[in-house]
Amino acid sequence: MTDILQVENLSLRRDGRDILRRVNLTVRAGEVHALLGLNGSGKSSLAYTLMGCAGYTPNAGRIVFDGRDVTALSISERARLGITLAWQEPARFEGLPVAQYVQLGTREASRDRIRDALEAVALPPNVYARRVVDQTLSGGERKRVELAAVFAMHPRLAILDEPDSGIDALSLADIGALIRRMASEGTTVLLITHRDEMATAADRASLMCQGAVVWSGDAAEARRYYGTRCRPHIEALGAQPWDEKLPEVRDALASNGKDAR
């Protein structure tokens, strides 16, 4: 399996704070790769940096997509290469019907594709296609529409930022199935989440802590470690300066990862 995304020593400083610290991450083509981390660990900032959003130009490092350095490309250019992002809190669009929004990124504005995408996120097309992507949709509905738009686009790399947030618990399985379906149709998924149960859909996973990716490997192992050890480590080490803390976290992972409960 080839690598589709390579993030090399990526650093981001905003408002005098180090947000990303020498991030290294490799995502293989066709996999679902979960990025697990507690709130504030830098997951969303990494997503915005990978997408090229304003204010998220890295201070150092590079982003390589399918062998090409995309660090200096605009959002549109990255999207045309096949990268897209589903926002954690999707934007609202006054006057823009759901069907039009979903088909915006598709090469073929096929009604079947739009219908399929809406059904994939459990939104009945006959009910939702003409609704408007504005405040008349609930947060959960907007989230599903956002995922439908990404699905319809059939991207090569979909960065899904907390796709489960705002979704009712009963529907989490639907989201997991959607992610697996995207992968089966050829989309590589970078699944950003702070809930270890969401990572059950992943093949591999990385742990993010205080702006750095501290570990990558088997998804099940990452889930076990994340669920039982990450929070205690943050609580124990949170007061220490970063440069002292990082080795400790890495050491802890190295020594405890295999037998983590």
């Binding site: 997408m51 959003c53 304003a54 605009s74 959002i75 549109s76 990255r78 999207a79 045309r80 990268i83 897209t84 992002l85 926002w87 999707p90 934007a91 609202r92 669009f93 006054e94 006057g95 823009l96 915006l104 990124g105 738009a149 686009m153």
Partner: protein, 327 residues
Amino acid sequence: MNTTTPSHALGATPAWTREFEAILDAYRQAGGDPNALQVPNVATLVVSANQVLVAHGIEGITFDAQELPHGVKARIVVAPNARIERTVHLCFGMLPAEGLQEIIAEYEIGAGAQVEFLAHCTFPNATKLEHRMDARMHVGAGATMKYNEAHFHGPHGGIEVRPRAQVTVDEGGQFVTTFNLTHGRVGVLEFDYTVDVAARGVAELTTKAYGIERDAISVRELIRLNGEGARSVAKTRAAVRDDATSQVFTTTEASAPNARGHMDCTEIVRGRAVARNIPSVVVRDDRAQVTHEAAIGTVNRKELETLMARGLDEDAAVDVIIRGMLR
């Protein structure tokens, strides 16, 4: 049936038929449905320059129209408690490139009546043309009047549009209006509405315009909530680019207990364009409330980046956002 046909009527002489067909054709080219203007059980008033081509009333609604040197004077009356089931079509237009069209209109909506108007204003060839509307609208107690005005202008920008209205909404009445000038060049728009709302009455005003090149948009709205429990919403959406300008002056005065008003203005600015929003709120009763929200300037960054992440370039993404906002 109450129908007044001052000088022309459905099935009249070939001379006006040609004018009528030309207006229909212009309307069709602008994206409208000409069939809607020719349905027997739909009340219709069609005016080309100062000619009344059709004044077709149906039960519950009458048109009384007189031709003037530069336009038409029309009185439109909806009988008390009448329910006009199908949208009333008003078509005002001018085919010549130059000239003046002045519409002096009086709308009398009887108590308890319900009616919706769709006014199409079509000026496909304008290069030096002025369209004035001076309207008085009276919405009787418990009546509902919806008045939607859509303009279809040509690409030249040589048009000046001045819609003015004095609206009175009686107790429990509802006045809902939309003004849409997003097809073709705006030219100069001076929109000026004053609405007085009695107890438990409702006024909803929505104005949308898209200015390019040297278009100049001016929207003035004065809403006076005079009666207890009167309510209003004034919503303005404007987008300007190139050297266009947009000025929105909205005033809401709440002078009675439990009156509620809200003003909502979004203006998007691109290039050298200039947008100005001057809201004014006057409250004369300590149980009343008027709120205001405005966003003036660039498009929302997150909306823009979301669309760019779908592969649209920045200009295309802005266009999608603006078109949606003005839809």
